[in-house]
Amino acid sequence: MVVGDVTTGTDVLVIGAGPAGYVAAIRAGQLDLDVTLVEKDAYGGTCLNDGCIPSKALITATDVAHEAGNAEEMGIHADPAVDLAGMMGWKDDVVDQLTGGVEKLCKANGVNLLEGTATLSDENTVRVSHSGEGQGSETLEFEHAIVATGSRPIEIPGFEYDDEPVIDSTQALALESVPDSMVIVGAGYIGMELAGVYAKLGTDVTVIEMLDSILPGYDDDLKRPVKQRANDLGIEFHFGYAASEWEQQGDGIRVVAEAPDEAAADGGQTEAVEDDPLELDAEKVLVAVGREPVSDTLELENAGVETDDRGFIQTDSQARSNVEHIFAVGDVAGEPMLAHKGSMEGQVAAEVIAGEPSAIDYQAMPAAVFTEPEIGTVGMSESEAEEAGFETVVGKFPFRASGRALTTGESDGFVKIVADDDQGYVLGAQIVGPEASELIAELGLAIELGATLEDVASTVHTHPTLSEAVMEAAENALGHAIHTLNR
């Protein structure tokens, strides 16, 4: 690429090299389009650098340490010493390997990589400013653009991430020492995953959540084993409280949380009823209250691309924005903010640009929460299916009835399958338990293919594996599970 004022051109400009953007770029390259991928920071985006991958690395590493130290039942007596720098180093290696792989894949597929921050000048021109003093900028003309700028952690008033003791999820994945104590604001999936990590590292973790339970949006029966395990790990919860301020307190800080009237009113939890502010002393405060789209740095208005009032770019089923040749994929294009949803949208956008009859028409979007135990969901919950007008039938199989689950020492949770009572089509599934994030994939396939309960139940599953629980849940819905009582 030419540096300076010379304008170059590209068929497809992809802004952002996260799992939505790099997938779009690679797919466009595969389809013989001339594609340029602009990234201001690191290939792989939030997912590879600050999200999915590093958090899973730390979750696994802390699990190994924790399990080894708590395996007396299995006759193992150990007190593993955790070298946090070593753990972080291993995590960074994993991240480096993956981001390097993304870069190689892009190049191998003919994607032009361009470092810098993109701002749109008009609907066919982008300006890319290179980072660093005097590095200048360049201008590109494009036929099509795919905006994949992702999202960033939401800041709450009074808790600026620049302040040393206040950290966001990104910083929480790169701490240099294990804090003695930590307040986590927000009991969503990020807060809950990191609460587990630090609790297992020995940090005293306290979680404040404005709503009345962990993991808002998930069914109660899925949350129960997760909450139980969190309690067992010594994580303390305060529901119905919102963090309002923090102050320096000796070596650490004191976080003040208040119960907003409405939260207290319908909080349900007894702790939230009293109006006294909560004062929590800790070494660090991790704010994990959600993520917001990065659509404000692009000057989208210069191209006429509109966003909603939360900053999401509205798209149609071909990932197109209101401007016909500008697409948006991934977190910036709206909920759910999931890497795999972004990747799928990225592929669709590239294929649509190449003239293929592609569309976002999935039947079911899977999601996983890497708490202990894990949660995996796909498709409709029972109540969603009923709202959609289906007569439902539900099958459930508890992991405590699974031989394999018992041999792993993890037998909390269950597999639940929701199907249409009439034809038996699988409509959705929820799993909480060991490897729920992996087990859910089979049911996603079942939903996409229009498989029925009988199809799943009649598919022979390997013994002894956790996947048998999926088969038995389907059998349970049909009234003939072998290893659990049928209703």
Partner: protein, 549 residues
């Protein structure tokens, strides 16, 4: 601006209609109320008018497809109109809310919701402009590969019935739909004369491929159909075949003649057939049959006019649908729901004939052709008033008998496409001339297929005139759920025994008409049926009694 027009309710409460033909093409300029399409509902062929002055941007359906009421039908470009105001003809609540807003939607929840509601019309102008196929609204059980194929072929999966297990839609279903829609568009275009349409509106496949082929280039399915020409299977024809008992059993199960299964294998110098050979042959046979069926439904080997057989053709298959199917369903429901009894009698209508002869010129002065039917209708309504159960229906759901104080008489009418029953409302309150002119109008409309579905509904009793064609008696089937139907035969001159004032009997030539009254024996006992007929005969024998009505 772009105006999206959804198929309106073309009849009273019909759920869908078959698109018989487009009367305009994409790019045509249309004026308001100009017919743009012909749609066939249960019983009538309806012209769908344009709601606007403008240009046809996109026709969303292929001829021959079943179009659900309320589905996007035509997209118009309307000049001079700004983009405010409802974007569609039949706005739903959510559209109304969004209409005045910029394309951006307020919250992601709302965006999600509206995207779920209406994947087709959302996201500003882009969706409509690109004209790509959007995912269907209803949940469709089809795997991703099939969904993609449907997008390629431009098929809306929600309109297909799946042939896979449990109704799942397969790739073959999509391919068949892509091929099928192509051929029926050909047929509709060539449907010009009543003779041709007589065979069946949507489906009569016919000639004219040459001039329509060019217009069908966007339907990629056309090629698909043509490539699936019947698979030729070489059949053997032996007198003797060696095969294991299990193989013979298999052949029997598959419906295959073991002597016809081709084989190269021999045992002891005799041809030997393996189970694999039987299976292969059975499958090949089946494929050939399917291909034949597909070719037939695609209209390939069908004769030039649709009603003729091609040379060498011994059978032809046509889709069982449209008016024919509606008639069939109605007949089955009637015959299997109501136990029918038919009461026959003969009535001397000499005076009626004379009365009509006298009145006929008077009617003609007013431009009305007076037939016997209005007299019969008056006699029927008079008799119905005496025997209200004959004008009643059974409401099975509520287990009630519903008596009606209105007398809407259905007139069974033979048309080119089959039986129709236009309805004369409040026949008891109308004069002979009014009945006559209304009936003539309705019958003409039915025969021309311009009758509206509303004019085919709501009868309380039906009369069918079988006399026009000939015969003495017939056993009519109730126009269910009505309780009675009267078939009247031809008025013939017959010898009758006549008794004069002095009690002298003689044989005289008289005008005689036959009556066949079928009634629902659940509601009406045989005696009542006979008494009703007698009452009717009283009026028909002495038409001056009708003056008292």
């Amino acid at each position: 601006m772009v105006r999206e027009f959804k198929l309106p309710d073309v009849g009273e409460g019909v759920a869908e209609g078959e698109l018989v033909s487009w009367l305009v093409a994409e790019g045509d300029t249309v004026s308001e109320d100009q017919p743009v399409a012909e749609v066939e509902t249960d019983k009538a062929l309806v012209e769908v008018p344009s709601p606007v002055n403008g240009t046809v941007r996109e026709l969303h359906w292929e001829e021959g497809e079943m179009v659900p009421v309320g589905d996007l039908f035509v997209t118009y470009d309307v000049e001079g109109e700004e983009s405010e105001g409802p974007s569609t003809e039949e706005p739903t609540a959510s559209e109304d809310e969004r209409a005045g807003e910029p394309p951006g939607v307020d919250s992601p929840e709302e965006a999600q919701a509206s995207a779920d509601d209406e994947p087709a019309g959302d996201a500003g102008a882009t969706g409509a402009e690109t004209g790509e196929v959007e995912p269907p609204e209803d949940r469709v059980f089809a795997p991703p590969r099939v969904r993609r194929l449907a997008r390629e072929e431009g098929i809306d999966l929600s309109t297909l019935e799946g042939s896979g297990p449990g109704g799942r839609i397969t790739a073959a279903d999509v391919e068949a739909a892509a091929g099928g829609s192509d051929t029926s568009s050909e047929s509709a275009e060539t449907e010009t004369t009543p003779e041709e349409s007589a065979s069946d509106a949507g489906a009569d496949s016919s000639s004219g491929t040459a001039d329509t082929a060019a217009s069908d280039t966007e339907t990629a399915g056309a090629q698909t159909t043509q490539t699936t020409t019947p698979t030729q299977v070489e059949s053997a024809d032996r007198d003797r075949t060696l095969a294991a008992p299990a193989t013979r059993k298999l052949a029997e199960e598959e419906g295959v003649d073991i002597d016809a299964v081709p084989t190269d294998e021999e045992r002891d110098g005799e041809p030997y057939v393996t189970p694999e050979a039987v299976r292969e042959y059975a499958e090949a046979q089946q494929r050939a049959q399917e291909a034949d069926a597909e070719a037939v439904s695609a209209g390939e080997p069908v004769g030039a006019k649709g009603t003729e057989f091609a040379e060498g053709e011994r059978e032809r298959r046509e889709p069982f649908k449209g008016v024919r199917k509606t008639i069939a369903d109605a007949m089955v429901e009637s015959k299997y729901s109501a136990p029918h009894v038919t009461h026959h009698d003969e009535v001397d209508v000499t005076e009626l004939v004379e009365a009509r002869e006298r009145l006929k010129p008077r009617a003609e002065e007013q431009g009305i052709g007076l037939t016997y039917m209005p007299f019969i209708m008056k006699a029927v309504t008079a008799a119905l008033k005496e025997y209200p159960e004959m004008n009643a229906v059974i409401d099975e759901d509520n287990e009630e008998i519903v008596y009606r104080d209105y007398y809407n008489v259905g007139i069974a009418t033979a048309t080119d496409v089959g039986l129709m029953v236009p309805v004369l409302e409040d026949a008891d309150r109308k004069g002979l001339l009014q009945l006559s002119s209304e009936m003539n109008e309705l019958v003409t409309k039915a025969r021309e297929r311009s009758i509206s579905p509303g004019e085919l509904r709501g009868s309380t009793f039906t009369i069918t005139n079988v006399g026009g064609i000939g015969g003495e008696y017939a056993t009519p089937i109730l126009n269910y759920p009505e309780s009675g139907i009267l078939a009247v035969g031809e008025i013939k001159r017959k010898p009758r025994v006549v008794t004069d004032e002095n009690g002298e009997e003689s044989i005289e030539p008289r005008s005689v008409m036959t009556l066949s009254l079928s009634f629902d024996h659940r509601l009406i006992d045989g005696a009542v049926g006979a008494q009703f007929t007698n009452e009717l005969m009283e009026y028909l024998e002495n038409p001056e009694l009708l003056l008292l009505e």
